[in-house]
Amino acid sequence: MTWECVIGLEVHVQLGTNTKMFCAAANSYGEPPNTLVDPYTLGLPGALPVPNAEAVRLGTRAALALGCTVHPVSIFARKHYFYPDLPKGYQISQFEEPLATKGAVNIESPERGPISIGVTRLHLEEDAGKSLHDRLPGRTAVDLNRAGVPLAEIVSEPDMRSAAEARAYLTLLRQLLVYAGVSECSMEKGTLRVDANVSVRRLGEPKFGAKAEVKNLNSFANVERAIEVERARQIATLEASGRIAQETRLFNANTGTTKALRSKEESHDYRYFPDPDLPPLVLEQRWIDEQRATLPELPAAKRARFASVYGLPAYHAATLTLEQPVATFFEKTVLAGADAKAAADWILETVLTVYNESGTFPVTPDRLAALVLLVKAGTVSKQAAKAVYGELLTTSDEPADIANRLGLVQVSDAGALGKWVDEVLAAHPGEVARFKGGEAKLIGFLVGQVMKKSGGKADPKAVQPVLQEKLSG
């Protein structure tokens, strides 16, 4: 029997504002516990929420980057539950009328090719604090620094059919949100968090199976693993004539298993109702349009432009546009005069290694362009350019000066080459005789010997004509 897995993802993204969603306390990470708090964050009596305009702006841009319709009127609602790290006993979120709905992103499925994943909704809310169960023996400590940090919750349609598709969706989602400048999207710091809704059904069955909501996913790799594990568990259960309960399950990365946390029947009744402290959030259509118009060029458009305008191969265009700073670095290098394909090669082969490790660029686009130009002009060989590049990292000299200093400028002058050619011909009479006897391929050997004699400085393209001339003379 063939099974089909159905996956929808709920992604929480912390918005990169200076202050929290509804108060002036700082939105920051890694500060000592309970230092980023104010009367509102602490849920003190008499404190009131005031929406953060920057959070609304970033949430709107996130929604537009995901192709959503942003609504001119949305409503903040209270979601109630008791927990020590939830200071007011409710979280301000959006429920029936969210900020944005009906978006879609296009991914490349390893199994199904290009597909579209629907984005059901994006709404704004405030984060909860953190309960620290391992800080004090036998007690739970509460840190409210995170409480009130602005979040965009992004809910997908159940459009994914494999763990790999889920990962592709997450990768693209993160790329879009980082491009749109709304969040750093770090799973490590918790600025991007993922819950996966997973169910299985027999292939061809129109109805969805009962779903499990899998939580505690702390990396993209673990999202993929957890979905695989949960899929296998559900299939095994059904094949053994068992029944899947609608429930919340926790993924344990150490054991590679999921475990039931609570069932739907005992789940919270959140008692949502519109927050009377906050008037409806009203956005002018003109302002929404302005946000759309000022979004940066998004990855798909940039990739297409790199391929068409710069004539780059698909792999180059895709790799250079994975991250916006790399794309910008590439374009600056080209603007400084470098040949596009050569610049792309240099970036992919050298610059990216450093960038991926440190997030910084080892050289400026101007200096990299100057080096690319030296190669194109034949002033230095590709081989020698690697040595020049090494010096670029440790000095502030211009590439041409480095090539001169290291004696790496190519020799293409026939007079200077003739001397090395004469010495090589004299040293290899046997090969010369065989070449003249018809072994044409020996020209390569002889060019190599000239290169060796020149210490790599001879321009191989200039060597051959000189050799040919002397051999035929």
């Binding site: 008499g46 402290d277 008037p279």
Partner: protein, 463 residues
Amino acid sequence: MKAAAVARDVAARLTETDSIGLNATLDWSADLLDREAARVDAMPAPMPLHAMPVALKDNIVTIEQPSTCASKILEGYVSPFNATAVERLRAAGAMMACKANMDEFAMGSSTENSAYGRVKNPIDHSRVPGGSSGGSAALVAAGVVPVALGSETGGSVRQPASFCGIVGVKPSYGRVSRYGLIAFGSSLDCISVFGNNVANAAAVLGVMSGHDPLDATTSPIPSLPLAPVDLPDLKGLVVGLPREYYPADLDPGVRAGLDRTIAAVRAQGAELREVSLPHSKYAVPTYYIVAPAEAASNLARFDGVRYGLRRLKDGDDVADMYRRTRGEGFGPEVRRRILVGTYVLSAGYYDAYYGKAQAVRALIAEDFRKVFAAGVDLLLTPTTPTPAFKAGEKADDPVSMYYADVFVCAISLAGLPAMSLPVGRSQGLPIGAQIIAPMFAEQRMLAAAQVLERVVSATEEVR
């Protein structure tokens, strides 16, 4: 007059009032009054509220004194910030005199629900002062302070003003910042004012009014002036008498008080017009769904985790702590309303209760809009169906207690400005007339009230 001298007089009156057992205050000190006076005396004169002593209902937070809402769960709690209203009053030269007793979390109509004991009506100690702002009302009625802040969710200033024979003004929703008012029903709550006359109440309201960046529900329209327009009479005004507010079984004393007020309105040249507000009869049940729903939500924060009472025994888990803290910290009326509020917001009941109540609320408000749009400038009604009742009379019958607010609830649901003006006494007990104005038309209401204040005795026996 120097503020220091005023402060000494207030302290002497507070001492006397406490000694006769009105139980109207929860916290005050001569030392704090002296400090307030020194601060005011150092201010450049003249200030709009120079040296005016103000009593504060205990649900309005200040950094100098505890703010308990008359609840065990907040016993000793001191806020690290001042309410915006308090900041504005202090900046205008007023002195904070004391924190006043109240029904716990403003839930009640008699100030019998305080965890710190009931407040007595200064006019007749066997009777209630009304509620929930009964402490503030009693302090003004007893002549301890000329003005006091209360709060309204569903009539908690107008009703006690009526019972105590003083002026009580509820502004439009959004006119005065709620920042620092401990929330009960957020869509209804209004800081409101008691005064020994209209002018003093209007001055305090004017100072407090205006947009506050810390309260997203405050209106951006300009603040109220500090004094009402001085009208010679009521010529040119149309005063509506909604028939639903004059039932056949209205207390005869209240009826007589309103009759003489209506006669005065006519004598001052206003046109009287009978009008109808058909949905007002649903105001009490509607209110008792909306307000508890919001209260259950607002009071969720009192959980023993961060401040206030925490009750915890060995072996308790966090749910035990919540149960014990909230069970022991809240009084019976507060617990009742939290349960009602939780129920009406529950999945499966929301549409039948909260959703329906919001729809009826819109109809109630629409009644008022229609009447005002048809050319009525103000409405005149009794504030309460009876004068002040005896302590204990309704304490075991919550629904009968709720109906003490039958004439004030609808206005709160509609968000309108309204006030109670003392218009005489029946068998020694004060009678209040309620004036209701369109949204943000406080000026018209206060100006008309000042005319009536001149011609209708507040203390004369009516028959």
